[in-house]
């Protein structure tokens, strides 16, 4: 069947987005998306390796795991790839001092790195901390740098929170890019480096992997640019307009994670029988 040709090649590992795929964000821990807890469990049982690639920067990784465990998802910290640890190792590697424009909840993760004159700006989804005053301080910090560097933790256009769409970090990073006439370096999806890190942790190539997410550009488009098959789910920030997106055509659009996982597991078992 042509529709499911994306299942023809073997799938040796899955990359899953978290917010909007495993749970919908909202008050407190949010709500698990029906079928997602069981879908992850089925993947674990069949032994298909799974890594979670998220641009979540409003909570520390430990808090994120706590949230997932609250919903009974079978996830351990080592399975989660998020921008904050990635940018921290990058800052250390290059000896950069960040000026932070991030959510107050994750500032603690950068302790010890923010001593001295900033040599770069690190920007995450700061939510309500995206005030004019904070944006302006970051802008002036960039203008004061000889070689201004802006790291954006993801570059999402928007996301869904408490049932409504909200501006994401990409909007505010674009504002600083425009004002300073610079380009930011993205740490997180859709950066190929970010997908690569998760793939090499599993030990597979891009062609052997499938990415499942609710962001047509960042998850699906980003994965496809690396040669990973991209599946969109009709949960989270999905809207009808994603179905005929001008630049990204998903390999498949599933109603939710559960449907996508069922198809993958079914295809895998057929492949095994054929061998």
């Amino acid at each position: 069947m042509a529709v499911n040709s994306w299942l023809a090649e073997p799938i040796k590992g899955l990359l899953l987005d978290i917010t909007g795929v495993l749970y919908e964000s909202g008050e407190g821990f949010g709500t698990a998306i029906p079928g997602s807890v069981e879908a992850v469990k089925r993947l674990r049982e069949t032994g298909i390796p799974v890594r979670f690639v998220t641009n979540e920067t409003c909570a520390t990784r430990a808090e994120l795991i706590k949230k997932l465990h609250h919903h009974s998802f079978s996830v351990s910290e080592g399975d989660v790839f998020s921008p904050v640890p990635a940018v921290i190792s990058l800052l250390k590697e290059r000896g950069l001092v960040p000026h932070l424009l991030v959510h107050p909840a994750i500032e603690c993760e950068f302790s010890g790195l923010v001593a001295g004159n900033p040599t770069c700006v690190v920007m995450g989804d700061a939510d309500e901390a995206f005030s004019f005053a904070n944006m302006n301080v970051a802008f002036r910090a960039l203008k004061a740098m000889e070689d201004p560097k802006l790291f954006a933790l993801g570059f999402g256009k928007y996301y869904k929170h408490k049932g409504q769409l909200q501006l994401d970090v990409g909007a505010f990073a674009t504002a600083l890019e425009f004002a300073c006439d610079i380009k930011s370096e993205i740490v997180g999806k859709p950066s190929p480096l970010f997908f690569d890190a998760a793939l090499s942790d599993i030990g597979i190539t891009a062609k052997e992997a499938v990415m499942i997410g609710d962001d047509i550009v960042s998850d699906v488009g980003g994965a496809q640019k690396c040669g990973i098959r991209g599946v969109l789910v009709r949960t989270g920030k999905y809207t009808r307009s994603c179905e005929n997106h001008p630049t990204v055509t998903p390999h498949f659009i599933a109603n939710n994670l559960s449907e996508a996982v069922d198809l993958i597991i079914e295809a895998q078992s057929k492949n095994i029988h054929q061998v």
Partner: protein, 260 residues
Amino acid sequence: MAKKIRAILVDLSGTLHVDDTVIPGSIEALKKLRETSAKIKFVTNTTKESKRILHERLARIGFSINKEEIFTSLTAARHLIDKRSLRPYMLIADAAKEEFSDINSEKQNAVLVGLAPEYFDYEHMTKAFRILLEGAPLIAIHRARYYKRSDGLALGPGAFVAALEYSTGCKSEAVGKPEASFFHSALEDLGCSATEAVMIGDDARDDVCGAMNAGLHGILVKTGKYRPGDESTVNPKPSYVAENFAQAVDHILSTWLISE
């Protein structure tokens, strides 16, 4: 052949005055111009000063100007809003809201962005974003990257317009100089066509080039922000380059034809 002129658009800051100082000869030159049949409008890009505030300053420093003769980027925005019956959600400075005080603000179907540091925060930006997602047009008073204020540089409206464009996928319409629509809109109630009008200003790109691209004649004055060589950096080249406003007026009166 002498150019036939029916209307003259004059920039304010840098052309007639710099802050509270009159550019020498400008008051007298304006009087001379008024003795002809030429229609006059004063056109400026402003994001926070209403017509009333601009008018007060001009009167204070000695110009005899009628408030109705002033046409700003805010006026242009107002024209556009009225023409398309828009009900905009406004991210503009409180001082500028005077020009929009009678606009219906229920069921907003457009977003208007000016210079409004007090509104460029997550809450207001998100509200604007949601209105734009419904397909509403995004109107920018102008797209400056940043501006200078007493405590240093500050982010301009262009940055926040770029942010909204990125997240919604929409394209903004700018209404100030150098948009052709700005000049056409200023000429509209004078009842004259672009080819019968001349723009006088100190900004080679926004005043002169913008006007000429809109079909007007353009005279560059060497006052205000003018820097030597500015006239050669733009294309099309100014119709004429004058030392100042007074000389520009003399040139028009002596070599061009002013008709009813």
